[in-house]
Amino acid sequence: MHVSKIIEVQDYTWKYINTSVPALAEINLTIEEGSFVGVIGPNGAGKTTLAFSIDGLVPGQYNGVKKGSVKVFGKEVEDYDKGELQQLVGVVFSDPEAQFTAMTVEDELVFGMENIGLSLAEIKERLEWVTELTELSNLLMKPPYEISGGQKQRVALAAVLAMRPKILILDEPTSMLDPVSRGRIFKVLAKLKEEENNTIIVIEHSLENLVPLADQMILMSESKLVLHDKTQPFFQQSKMLLEKGAFPPGAMLFFHLLHERGLYQGEYPLTVAGGAELLRDLMGK
């Protein structure tokens, strides 16, 4: 199967105007079509700026100094016409409230589709698809700012999904949500991974839900891309992750501590269920 590189970042450095340190420094990154990528790292590591750079918000909406190149579908982000790149790359921000500009959930969902010039029939079809996927059908006539936090984030996600971007970036989509609402967001992402061929990049602090879905992980720290690997080998380097202020999920951390004490030598489990199974096997031996 031919897998194309749809995001290519080369020697990329970005410094916002009036700041002394670059937000991103010498980033090199390649992401293939259909990947599910998790991005972790402490606050201020440059994760959001990386997301904005892929969506063209940087440098489009911000002043600063750019070095290197960021290509999406083989074309430099600045070379896209206004609004053109955003049809290919969709971003869901961490604060859903700050994304709502319409009076009803339905208006919010159709806004992006109208922007890209879809016909009424197509808008209707996509609206049905996306509201079913995100379980929002009964909220269409409500004001988006009067619904619960979890529902708001699903509206924000649905508004972007309705535009059917090839690349979907979620910037800490569950940072303001309770565990149940978090689970529902990741349920939608799991469906997308299963049924669509989207490339999905999720920036997230809470890893329990992310790790089982991610094919590969990226660690950002102090404006640099420190580690990029497939999920399993990525978390085998838990020592480095901990040093850089990124905390692996509990099950992994447990096995990492066993490893540190010389009690376990194998691969770390990615989920609690996997960890329980592994532990049962170990205890049975």
Binding site: L57, E114, G117
Partner: protein, 286 residues
């Protein structure tokens, strides 16, 4: 009853079956009626009609009490303007002289004429605000082909007004938590309070402008360039269609306005001297 940023609207109402444009048309045209009518009788009839329409529309009349102080203060101002500040006019009929202030019949009559012109204009505005949800106003604007960018600014402005009110609550809580309580304090203290609110309110809104912009750009919105020239489908409008009664209402409003102009300028109707109400009052005060 639902709260909108512009007032309270009923949950269910027969007026929601009417196309939003008809309500906008009513506001724009019927607001003009009192300008051509001097006799208060007709303006009072118009007010009664509007109240009836509100009643039919299931508007919760108790929510309208916020406009009572407005009506009273406006009436007082007009009355003072035409009496205390009305000047000396020997040619007018003096009804009374109290504390050196002359109360002329002509001045009181004019004050009534003006007041009963303003009131129905306010009534039409209140009727519109208490029967139109925010979305209705946007639909009404779009249905008369107001450019998308204008209707969008309007929608976003309403949204940001809501956010400012929320922020205002948050800032006030924060100020109170730091021991800043305006209750029972002087005007100077209260003004200081608003200064303290205004700066963070502006700062929060400015920060929001960046987030809003990113959200719009990320969803493909541009108002210049190739993308901005894409023909937009207007999905919201598909929920609204003109029914036969919408055309009837538009026709009735138009005919009423034309009739008003014809009778006013063709036959000299609606003049002050034709008002039985003023004649009654005149005989009463003399």
């Amino acid at each position: 009853m639902n709260k909108t940023l512009l007032g309270y609207v009923p949950n269910e109402s027969p007026i929601y079956a009417v196309h939003p444009f008809v309500k906008l048309y009513f506001l724009l045209v019927v607001s003009l009626f009192p300008m051509f009518v001097s006799a208060p009788d007709w303006n009072i009839i118009l007010m009664v009609v509007i109240i009836l329409l509100m009643w039919i529309s299931k508007v919760n009349m108790s929510t309208l009490k916020i406009y009572i102080p407005v009506a009273i203060s406006m009436g007082t101002i007009i009355f003072l303007s035409y009496t205390v500040l009305g000047g000396t006019h020997p040619e007018f009929e003096l009804l009374a002289r109290i504390w050196g202030i002359n109360f002329y019949w002509e001045r009181i009559r004019d004050a009534l004429v003006v007041y009963f012109r303003v009131l129905p204009m306010i009534f039409t505005m209140v009727f519109f605000l208490s029967t139109s949800r925010e979305r209705d106003i946007i639909v009404a604007m779009r249905s008369i082909k107001v450019p998308f960018v204008v209707t969008y600014i309007f929608a976003m402005a309403l949204r940001s007004a809501g956010m400012v009110l929320e922020d205002f609550g948050i800032v006030r809580q924060a100020e109170k938590a730091r021991g800043f309580d305006p209750a029972g304090k002087s005007i100077a203290y209260k003004i200081r309070q608003y200064v303290m609110y205004m700066v963070p309110l502006f700062a929060l809104s400015l920060r929001r402008s960046e987030e809003f912009t990113n959200a719009l750009v990320a969803r493909g919105y541009a108002f210049t360039g190739k993308v901005s020239r894409v023909k937009r489908a207007d999905y919201i409008l598909t929920h609204y269609s003109y029914k036969y009664f919408d055309y009837i209402f538009i026709a009735l409003i138009t005919i009423a306005f034309i009739a008003l102009l014809v009778y006013r300028y063709g036959y000299g109707y609606f003049q002050v001297d034709q008002s039985w109400l003023l004649r009654l009052l005149r005989s009463w005060v003399s």
